[in-house]
């Protein structure tokens, strides 16, 4: 199973501009598996992405969007993406701000399948 996770994360990190991909627990943001570039603080990415996703969950339900399928935070110097997977797992990606989000998203969906 861990090989399957590794392959799924490798697929994400092969997209140009991706600095790290992680599978984390959605409730407390702990790392299950990760593939991050040197210098990237994986534990901080995991914790903050899980926290952000949880904080925005009520907003999406309240606005009629429903349970969150995808979150995209665009900042001046980078991009943070998250996508929930089954079994309380969150797929998280940290990337450059000019990354092809469509490609990353496809690989994230593959990672979700790997978790099932």
């Amino acid at each position: 199973m861990s090989e399957q996770f590794k392959q799924a994360l490798d697929g994400i990190t092969r997209v140009r501009g991706v600095r790290g991909a992680l599978m984390v627990t959605d409730d407390d943001g702990l790392i299950i598996a990760d593939a991050v570039m040197e210098g990237v603080r994986g534990d901080a990415v995991a914790a903050l992405a899980a926290s952000l996703s949880a904080r925005m969950a009520k907003a999406t339900v309240g606005a009629g969007v429903g349970e969150q399928h995808f979150l995209h935070l665009q900042a001046e110097n980078g991009t943070l993406l998250s996508m929930p997977a089954p079994n309380g797992v969150l797929i998280v990606v940290l990337a450059e701000n000019d990354v092809n989000v469509g490609l990353v998203r496809l690989e994230m969906l593959r990672a979700v399948e790997a978790v099932k």
């Binding site: 199973m1 009629g64 665009q74 900042a75 940290l94």
Partner: protein
């Protein structure tokens, strides 16, 4: 490009609650009349496994339709799923079976408050306090609703907001609010047509504080916008001038690229409106 690899599966599947859920599921399978579905449904709900929780609740309801707690459980799950009207109906069924049901009156009070029905909220919260005067959460909620009702009778009528006049969804899918969650203009409606502007502004402003923190700690610079997608559509949150936030929400028929275009137009309208408000 070098990547570090690691893996720890126990953090995902080794949590004790999973074995509890497995045990409860097994107990329910061996004895379908068992009341363990109440505990199982609640455990799944707390884990966010809402569809599994709903399934457990429905199975229990089929076996125990006269049990007030089974309707109460299903109502709590429906609220988490965003099906507020169905949750309301389930809680009504609960109080028909048990007129002093604390959880149902709390839930009905919460829904009435969300829908702006302060009288209804007061009625249910007072019944909830009567059911358990020691429940501090109900006492506090009652105080808050009483305060809101008093403010409403004292406050002058708000002027008609026209920040997004002429834009599609100006009063039900575009919202301008400050970083403390106070609505400045526009409006947001649920799929049932209820005004959810204040709730959504409060939730999103809280989420934006988290986005500030994430961007700062991860050294991403200032965040510019966020897009969130779900089964019911998508929403675009962006910063506006004067410490304000702009939210655009649309159903699933609007692709994310078009949502960004709508957000840009709304941002320009908001900028002009905010400038006009300057003394």
């Amino acid at each position: 490009m070098r990547y570090r690899q690691s893996s720890d599966l126990t953090r995902c599947w080794g949590r004790p609650v999973s074995s509890d859920i497995r045990a409860m599921t097994a107990e329910l399978a061996s004895n379908p009349d068992s009341l363990v579905f109440l505990e199982l449904g609640e455990a799944l709900r707390r884990r966010g496994q809402l569809y599994a929780a709903a399934k457990a609740a429905v199975v229990g309801l089929e076996r125990h339709p006269q049990l007030a707690d089974s309707h109460d459980l299903y109502a709590r799950i429906l609220v988490d799923m965003g099906h507020l009207q169905q949750a309301y109906d389930e809680w009504q069924a609960t109080v028909e079976l048990d007129p002093q049901h604390l959880g149902a009156h709390k839930g009905l009070g919460f829904l009435c408050y969300r829908w702006g029905d302060l009288d209804g909220a007061l009625e249910h919260l007072e019944l909830a306090v009567a059911a358990d005067p020691m429940d501090q959460s109900v006492v506090q909620a009652l105080q808050m609703v009483r305060g809101a009702a008093a403010e409403l009778t004292e406050a002058p009528e708000e002027p008609q907001q026209s920040v997004f006049q002429g834009l599609d969804g100006a009063h039900h899918g575009l919202l301008l609010f400050d970083t403390r969650g106070r609505v400045l203009g526009g409006g947001m409606s649920s799929h049932l047509g209820e005004d959810v502007s204040r709730d959504v502004a409060a939730y999103v402003s809280g989420g934006c504080q988290e986005a500030d923190r994430s961007s700062r700690i991860l050294e991403l610079g200032d965040w510019r916008w966020m897009v969130l997608e779900g089964p019911g559509g998508s929403m675009h949150v962006s910063r506006s001038p004067s410490n304000t936030l702009l939210l655009v929400a649309r159903d699933g028929s609007v692709p994310s690229g078009r949502l960004a275009v709508l957000a840009k137009r709304a941002a320009e309208a908001a900028r002009q409106w905010l400038e006009a408000q300057q003394p």
